[in-house]
């Protein structure tokens, strides 16, 4: 299990360019379909917690999955796994061992992976939206938070805080209405 966690997150770190969000569909694929460690709903909670908390989203996700499966040791192994490829590749580049900027084949491969990462993010939007946007209130919340973050450049921390409070208020109002 520990090795499985390490390998999964090592591959995630190695193949996803553009960071945590691009990892979402791959992680979902692995966790929900392949290994059946989580349900779709549990994955959405994972994403909500990992994006709502500060820090690198990929590390948050590695820690979350690792912790849920094998506690402290699991989260440590997963986090090291997701960081390690970055660490090695950046060190090689920083030491000038790989003149990647001049090599059209390496740059092409990286460009292909980067374009694919954008595709992955589109898949992520669709997958999470499908699970979350059930009903007009949730849909409005999703659209509103998108506009706030992407176009009005509101800090994600405030959006998460507002969403948290909105969730509690809506629950109270519905509770009184009943």
């Amino acid at each position: 299990m520990l090795l499985e966690l390490f390998v999964t997150f090592f591959k995630l770190g190695l193949f996803t360019i553009g960071g945590g969000v691009a990892m979402i569909p791959i992680l979902r694929d692995k966790m929900v379909n392949e290994k059946q460690w989580f349900t779709d709903e549990e994955m959405v909670d994972l994403f909500a917690v990992c994006q709502g908390l500060p820090g690198v989203i990929a590390i948050n996700m590695a820690t979350y999955v690792g912790f849920k499966r094998r506690g402290f040791l699991g989260s440590l192994v997963s986090t090291v796994g997701v960081i390690l490829p970055s660490f090695v590749i950046i060190l090689l580049i920083a030491q000038g061992l790989a003149a990647i900027g001049d090599n059209p084949i390496i740059m092409g491969a990286l460009g292909g992976l980067r374009a694919a990462a954008v595709g992955l993010i589109i898949v992520a939007v669709w997958q999470v939206a499908r699970t979350v946007m059930k009903g007009p209130v949730a849909t409005a919340g999703a659209v509103l938070s998108f506009v706030l973050i992407a176009f009005l450049h509101v800090n994600v921390a405030y959006v998460v805080l507002a969403a948290l409070i909105a969730g509690i208020v809506i629950d109270k109002v519905r509770g009184q209405a009943q």
Partner: protein, 192 residues
């Protein structure tokens, strides 16, 4: 003690960086001056490399800045620093959610945050898609004839690769790692 200072600086960045990647990079750019003399252009170069190399952008940037400031040990310390708060906070959050799973207020709060998750992911599409699609360094340099007929400041091939990725994963149910390897090879053949 540069290593302790680096660790602490990146610990704070990990603790205050809400929203992942680019938010964290802004914090890094604000705090590196105490470690290494770097012009904004030099920092922009590092971020550009971090964005086109595998791995989380924030981890890549932290590793690079740590290395430039204090060598290999510096990069290890910076990366550990940015990872530590995530580690603590997420473990605490997991424990808390497990313990209060039946709590109505927590459930309501989580239900409030879930839609915002969609907004955050969609916003990431813009942050990552814009530099990947709207660029003059396009894919396809191995096939100049192809590039000549395509627009100069939009990477049409990158858009097609993204669309093909969506098609294969969402509609053909091809395993995502397999799709990534295909797209990497495709990019290598086309060149950039």
């Amino acid at each position: 003690m540069i290593y302790l200072q680096l660790y602490w600086a990146f610990f704070k960045i990990g603790l205050l960086g809400f929203g992942g990647g680019m938010a964290i990079i802004r914090l890094i750019s604000d705090s590196i001056q105490q470690f290494v003399a770097m012009t904004p252009a030099e920092f922009a170069n590092i971020v550009a490399i971090a964005q086109v190399t595998p791995g989380p952008v924030a981890v890549n940037t932290a590793t690079y800045v740590g290395y430039v400031s204090a060598g290999v040990l510096g990069s290890a310390v910076a990366t550990l620093g940015v990872a530590t708060p995530a580690f603590i906070l997420v473990s605490l959050a997991c424990r808390f959610i497990n313990k209060h799973r039946e709590n109505r207020t927590l459930d309501a709060a989580l239900r409030g945050v879930r839609p915002a998750t969609v907004g955050m992911i969609a916003a990431a599409f813009i942050t990552i898609g814009k530099p990947a699609f709207l660029t003059t360094t396009r894919l396809g340099s191995n096939v100049p004839a192809l590039l000549a007929v395509l627009p100069a400041n939009v990477d049409v091939i990158a858009i097609l690769i993204a669309a093909l990725t969506v098609y294969l994963i969402a509609f053909k149910k091809v395993k995502s790692f397999r799709v990534l390897i295909i797209m990497g090879i495709l990019g290598a053949i086309l060149g950039a």
